[in-house]
């Protein structure tokens, strides 16, 4: 448990990735699901940004939106995703393919099924090398072996000719990470990369990611619903609920003084308030609602212990809640604390009206 990261890890300068008011909806037969609804956050070089939230809160769809891997019936409808000064949403498919795996790599939740069972591990790593670095033949093989060694797979020159089913779960996840690193990405998106692994292996993989990050000055976006893992790895945390980011803060500050009632609930739901590994976020009463309309209220209200009348009629916007830092925001009508309740409500009403789709 390492909650002693420096609060101020953010580096100066431009963020490497800037997600601005993105909305991704799924047009199903029954309804339009706003899986991601007006999400904004930044990721800086060398930084690990954690995204937490219960199942169904839109974490994976956020990641997919950044990769532009949202499939039918899903559509990214609004917002910008700025990478390297350019909006990824304007990229042509071919340009996007060069970015995927090349500049932004992604590791998925299930290592057991992330590798194609009918090709060798080496083949799949070399595929990345060929696609983004034009390597082939001996050169690619050598590089692939080095990558496997870098992620701590022993006997790599033999392993490279083996098939995924000959690898253990932890080794497969390492191989997937090696594949993601093959092209020296600047940003690595990890969608619950350790959920399927047992605790020891999980710790090893987290350590591996930290080492790699240090070595390569990699930015990591880390999705999980495990608060223990977040405490371990994240510099900054975004808490998602029903398609929205409800609180965003440096990791230490979030754990020490969570402001949003949802975050408080999440942290309280971990036994012994200890951020034990494997602590899951399932003990708040009720379920995440499916966001299927424009929010004119607080989506957490039905489950919120502090809800009051206006929570059903005013949509909370992110406001500064930090005690001293300026990097702690929460979307809750209880804030800003230094204003009276009425004044606070006015802030939310006014900014909510201005917000919307035109960013």
């Amino acid at each position: 448990m390492s909650t002693e990261q420096p609060t101020e890890t953010r580096q100066k300068g431009e963020p490497i990735l800037s997600v601005e008011n993105v909305r991704t909806s799924f047009y199903t037969d029954k309804e339009v699901i706003r899986a991601v609804d007006g999400v904004s956050f930044d990721i800086y070089r060398g930084e690990t940004v954690g995204i937490v939230g219960e199942s169904g809160s839109g974490k994976s769809v956020t990641a997919r939106s950044i990769m532009r891997l949202v499939d039918n019936p899903g559509r990214i409808e609004n917002g910008r995703i700025m990478y390297d000064g350019e909006n990824l949403l304007d990229k042509k498919p071919k340009q996007m393919r060069a970015i995927r795996g090349g500049s932004i790599a992604m590791v998925f939740q299930d290592p057991l099924t992330s590798l194609n069972p009918v090709y060798t591990v080496g083949n799949q790593i070399k595929e990345s090398l060929r696609l983004h670095r034009g390597m082939s033949g001996k050169e690619a093989t050598k590089e692939a072996i080095e990558l496997l060694e870098a992620v701590g797979i022993p006997d790599a020159h033999r392993r490279i000719r083996e098939y995924p089913h000959q690898f253990s779960g932890g080794m497969r996840q390492r191989a997937v990470i090696a594949m993601a690193l093959a092209c020296d990405p600047e940003l690595l998106i990890c969608d619950e990369p350790t959920t399927a692994l047992d605790v020891t292996i999980q710790a090893q993989i987290l350590e591996l990611l930290e080492d790699i990050q240090e070595e390569r000055d990699l930015a990591i976006m880390f999705i999980t619903h495990d608060m223990g893992v977040i405490a371990e790895i994240a510099d900054r945390v975004n808490v998602m609920y029903a398609g929205e980011i409800v609180e965003s803060a440096p990791a230490v500050e979030l754990f020490e003084s969570p402001k949003h009632p949802y975050t408080q609930g999440l942290l309280n739901s971990i036994p012994g308030q200890g951020l034990e590994e494997g602590g899951r976020l399932s003990t708040i009463e009720g379920d995440v609602p499916t966001p299927n309309e424009e929010p004119t209220y607080c989506r957490f209200a039905p489950r919120c212990p502090k809800a009051f009348a206006e929570c059903d009629t005013v949509h909370p916007v992110p406001v500064e809640v930090g005690d001293d830092s300026t990097q702690h925001q929460a979307s809750c009508l209880l804030y800003p604390k230094n204003l009276s309740k009425e004044e606070a409500l006015d802030v939310h009403r006014e900014r909510g009206a201005k917000g919307g789709d035109q960013r």
Binding site: R100, N116, S128, H165, A182, C183
Partner: protein, 349 residues
């Protein structure tokens, strides 16, 4: 255990299967209700002749010695001769005449199923819930549901009438090459294909075309059930593969659409199709008896059917043995395909 060791083991395991199947055949023939002697003699039954035949056939020997004799002969490919439907002709000669037609029929029906069913299924799977998917899926279901005999008879009727219907504009019988609708295909050109082709390429090609056209309607009927199956399974397999994590991972690393389909999707989607494809051999053996009758293709199925209704026991035994070999061979082919396509084969754990 490596995949190929596993494959070898599967091949070895087919030996007991052949022995078992042949033993069952023996039991059915010798212990079944049919008496070969009366079948051979038919109406001219007399005890003396019967005794004579019994001795000739070795039916006076103890059963176990008959059994070993039977097994030994089959395994050394001494296939005996026909006693009833073509007395005195060796089974080998009969098979030489009848088998090629069945093989020709089987070849085309498998090919039709493969080259129509799988591409259609894959196409539908790659474009799910589009109009073409619905058309293909719906067509596949209707096609599969059509009973073989109905389809066969409709096709024979329709093809015979094409001349009248189109006022002579299109007549199946004279289209490209002159053929009858129901006929055994003329396969003489296969006797010595290379020589034949070199000597007279035009003529050889013409015979080839003719034989293909002759078999086409029957092959279509026989292949249609498998075609529908392959389409359906192919579609599901592609859909499943598309939504799998490894395809997602491949997309996330920037693999292009075409490579995604050919490299990552198709090979995996083929795996569930393997047993469907080889399972066709079983369908074929069953279906061929009937289809060969309707289309007057005097093949193995027809031969077997006649041997059976006439009680030609030695020939039945031999044909059964051949069928068993075909089935076992198909199973081996199936294992071979699995071994080639799927590296997980033979992996325990």
């Amino acid at each position: 255990m490596s995949r190929w060791q596993y494959f070898l083991r599967r091949v070895l395991m087919s030996i007991p299967v052949v022995i078992f199947g042949t033993t069952i055949t023996f039991a059915l023939i010798r212990l079944g209700p049919l008496d070969p002697v009366s079948a051979i003699l038919g109406t001219q039954y007399n005890p003396q002749a019967a005794e004579q035949i019994r001795t000739n056939l070795g039916l006076n020997q103890p059963l176990w010695s008959q059994y070993f004799d039977f097994m030994y002969r089959l395994f050394t490919f001494q296939l005996g001769q026909s006693w009833v439907i073509a007395p005195g002709t060796t089974a080998y000669e009969l098979i030489q005449v009848y088998a090629p037609r069945t093989i020709w029929l089987g070849f085309w029906s498998v090919l039709i199923a493969l080259f129509v069913g799988i591409p259609l299924g894959f196409y539908a799977g790659l474009n799910p819930n589009t109009l073409s998917d619905y058309v293909a899926s719906f067509g596949g279901i209707v096609w599969r549901a059509m009973p073989n005999f109905w389809l066969a008879i409709m096709l024979v009727t329709a093809l015979s009438q094409t001349g009248q219907w189109t006022n002579g504009f299109f007549t199946w019988q004279t289209w490209i090459v002159k053929t009858n609708v129901v006929t055994p295909p003329a396969l003489g050109f296969f006797q010595d294909p290379i020589q034949g082709f070199l000597a007279d390429p035009g003529g050889w090609f013409n015979s080839f075309l003719k034989a293909t056209k002759q078999i086409a309607p029957a092959a279509l009927v026989l292949g249609s059930a498998s075609m529908g199956n392959e389409m359906r399974i192919g579609r599901t397999a592609v859909l499943e593969t598309i939504n799998s994590n490894y395809v997602e991972t491949a997309r996330a690393k920037g693999v292009s659409g075409r490579s995604l389909v050919w490299k990552h999707i198709f090979r995996n989607a083929l795996i569930p199709l393997v047993p469907i494809i080889t399972g066709e051999a079983f369908l074929l053996l069953g279906g061929s008896v009937f289809v060969e009758t309707v289309f007057a293709i005097n093949g193995l199925g027809w031969l077997f059917f006649n041997a059976a209704i006439n009680g030609d026991l030695p020939l039945i035994g031999t044909l059964m043995y051949i069928f068993i070999l075909i089935l076992v061979g198909t199973n081996i082919l199936q294992d071979f395909l699995y071994t080639v396509i799927d590296p997980r084969v033979g992996y325990e754990g």
